[in-house]
């Protein structure tokens, strides 16, 4: 039995027929740790970006998780929300993760959005590339809203007139997702929606 990914304590699991036949995914967190994450399911609509579904609010538990995952580089934490993320999509969705600049991904040693999707076992297509190494998290709100041209299409990528679903870890001002949606729509996408794990509401 693997210990809880966050507190390292052993996980108590009740044996059931589902777990016996491996129909149930193994728990990655203990009950106490999973209780800290409360689903918010915030849904918003817009014009460039037709709809955004955020699974959790940016609270203390999420801040700790994101810090350990992205900045302490704890790749194992990609598994924590794999069930929730899988259920946020249906099997015929075309999923497009928000890319990292290759140089930054090399420094982090992994691309965090893609690893989240890998954990959830949803296939995705990488249609976009990042044009520069700037980081949203280091900018002020004003700077964020005024950045231009963050993404372009991967050379040779074909965008069809269908619905694409973008995925990112956190949705703050929305600039990242809107810019990615603009690129896809200009290339011919009929509708662009987004799923983010976290919604950060600015005060």
């Amino acid at each position: 039995m693997n210990p809880c990914l966050l507190c390292m304590k052993p996980i108590s699991e009740v044996a059931s027929w589902q777990s016996f036949f491996a129909l149930e995914k193994k728990k990655t967190l203990c009950d106490d740790c999973s209780k800290r994450f409360v689903r918010a399911d915030i849904k918003e609509e817009g014009d460039v970006l037709d709809a955004v579904h955020s699974l959790y609010e940016y609270d203390e538990a999420m801040r700790d998780w994101l810090h350990q995952y992205k900045f302490m580089q704890d790749v194992a934490l990609a598994q924590v929300f794999s069930n929730e993320l899988r259920r946020a999509f249906s099997s015929n969705d075309t999923i497009v993760p928000i890319p990292m600049h290759p140089e930054r991904a090399r420094i982090r040693t992994f691309a965090h959005v893609e690893k989240l999707l890998d954990g959830s076992k949803r296939p995705y297509v990488q249609l976009l590339t990042k044009t520069n190494t700037s980081v949203m998290g280091e900018k002020s709100r004003h700077e964020r809203l005024n950045v231009e041209h963050l993404f372009e299409l991967v050379p040779g990528a074909v965008v069809q007139p269908i619905t694409y679903r973008l995925v990112d870890d956190i949705y703050t001002t929305g600039t990242t997702l809107r810019q990615a949606a603009t690129v896809l729509k200009q290339a011919g996408a009929s509708r662009v929606e987004a799923v983010t794990l976290i919604r950060s509401i600015q005060k």
């Binding site: 693997n2 210990p3 350990q68 302490m72 580089q73 704890d74 790749v75 194992a76 991904a105 090399r106 420094i107 982090r108 040693t109 992994f110 691309a111 690893k115």
Partner: protein, 459 residues
């Protein structure tokens, strides 16, 4: 063999095993020292394929080998399969492609002039233990100071530490818990005013690179390697030191190969006692420094306390006990086995006096509340086992709610009882175990206290 090097780099790295990317020095300086052979690099994690193709990993920093505590992934840095150690993740991730550095140049020479400013006198029991401990240090054999709570364990260490410092040795006092380190730091700073001393715990940066006397949580010792001529492990039986094998490895690794590791505790486990009797020596002190006996526990039934407390009601016997403490103006500690139940109890007890607070390991104001209790600003605290050791408060009265719970083993109960009557002016006090049935551990603790008070004879 007189290659130039930066003495600051030597002082910092000598005895340490550190991430190459995260030193207080610039990359250029580190690279120069690597080129001149002063610094050696090693892979952070080594991955080996076993006989049947199973992969086994070992972390060079914390020596963790538990396959559950490694995560392998496809790394974009080394462009291939990589693995990192989750056991010491909080100190910066160590993976296969991370480099750790160790000092290979000439070692730091530590000063040999140190003053011992402590002016108290040792009781004859303390003096004997102190001499025996020094004797063991000279003969490089492990030593256990088994001394009851409130017998002045720290003072026993002063003489031997002073003698070692004067010989130019580097010393470490390690403890599993931050609280113990924080309590020790000012006392040692006062005792050794001319010695470079540093306290290391989670969140504290390395400031004095050439500290000769280091106080550290056992976790911090992951980052040391062959550094110390002697290590004193205080409260050696506390969680998580006994539970985690890697912490015990870390202490061994932080000591030089022939250096002895000494233990100091009031409640040694049977395993520690038998282990140390094989290779080392034991000094036992049964009397507190003021000569009064340890207060024995009093049993009081508190049937169905968890049901009543979760309904927000205080059981009558507990309520009376608290009211009595409030009336007599005596500070009190109430121990609980579980945070959730304690929080329910806090709400109910604050109806009696709104100043009462509850603390647990993750509580943000935990240090402040303990200080307030010591200063008399609040009449009492509810606590989990985090305050079971290392805390000294004048005339404190102690109750345990749910003393039959398995978290309160005999050692924990002896430690909890050891909070009572530590001061010469208040050498006794109430130590009550509220229970829902008497456990073996409770009887064991009561027997042990009796045995200690009788001078160590079998009761």
């Amino acid at each position: 063999m007189n290659k130039p090097f930066d003495p600051a780099v030597r002082d910092f790295l000598d005895g340490r095993i550190w991430l190459r990317q995260h030193t207080p020095f610039s990359m250029e300086i580190i690279n120069e020292h690597i080129e001149s052979g002063m610094i050696e690099t090693t892979a952070g994690v080594t991955m080996k394929k076993g006989l049947f193709g199973q992969i086994s990993c070992k972390c060079a920093r914390c020596e963790n080998e538990d396959p559950q505590l490694f995560t392998s992934f496809n790394c974009l840095q080394c462009e291939g399969p990589c693995a990192y150690c989750r056991n010491c993740l909080q100190m910066g991730r160590v993976s296969v492609c991370t480099e750790l550095i160790v000092w290979k140049g000439p070692p730091t020479n530590y000063p040999t002039e140190h003053s011992l400013a402590w002016e108290g006198t040792l009781t004859k029991h303390q003096k004997r233990a102190s001499e025996e401990l020094y004797e063991s240090t000279v003969r490089a054999r492990p030593h256990l100071i088994h001394a009851v709570c409130g017998s002045g364990k720290t003072e026993i260490l002063f003489e031997p530490i002073h003698k070692l410092l004067v010989a130019g040795k580097r010393i470490c006092i390690a403890a599993p818990r931050v609280d113990v380190i924080l309590e020790l730091e000012p006392r040692l700073r006062a005792a050794f005013p001319s010695t470079k001393l540093e306290a290391l715990y989670g969140g504290a940066d390395v400031k004095a690179f050439d500290a000769q006397l280091i106080l550290a949580t056992t976790h911090q010792l992951y980052r040391f390697r062959h550094a110390f001529d002697a290590i004193f492990v205080d409260e050696a039986d506390a969680f998580p030191y006994t539970a985690e094998k890697t912490l015990q490895h870390a202490v061994r690794k932080a000591a030089k190969s022939a250096a002895p590791i000494h233990f100091v505790t009031a409640t040694p486990s049977d395993k520690l006692l038998t282990d140390i009797k094989k290779t080392g020596a034991v000094s036992t002190i049964y009397r507190r420094y003021h000569g009064h006996p340890l207060p024995g526990p009093r049993y009081e039934p508190l049937w169905n306390y968890s049901k009543q407390l979760s309904k927000g009601k205080i059981p009558k016997a507990l309520e009376n006990w608290i009211i009595q403490r409030l009336d007599l103006n005596e500070p009190f500690l109430v121990f609980f086995h579980e945070i959730e139940l304690m929080m329910k109890a806090e709400q109910a007890i604050r109806q009696l006096d709104d100043r009462v607070r509850a603390v647990h390991s993750a509580h943000p104001d935990r240090k402040q509340h303990v200080q307030d209790l010591r200063a008399g600003k609040i009449p009492g605290l509810l606590t989990t086992t985090i305050l079971e050791r290392g805390i000294t408060i004048n005339n404190i009265q102690v109750a345990v709610v749910g003393a039959e719970q398995s978290i309160f083993d005999a050692g924990a109960l002896v430690q909890i009882g050891g909070r009572v009557g530590r001061n010469v002016n208040h050498p006794s006090g109430d130590f009550v175990l509220f229970h829902n049935g008497i456990s073996y551990a409770m009887d064991h603790a009561r027997r042990e206290i009796k045995r200690l008070n009788a001078g160590g004879d079998q009761p």
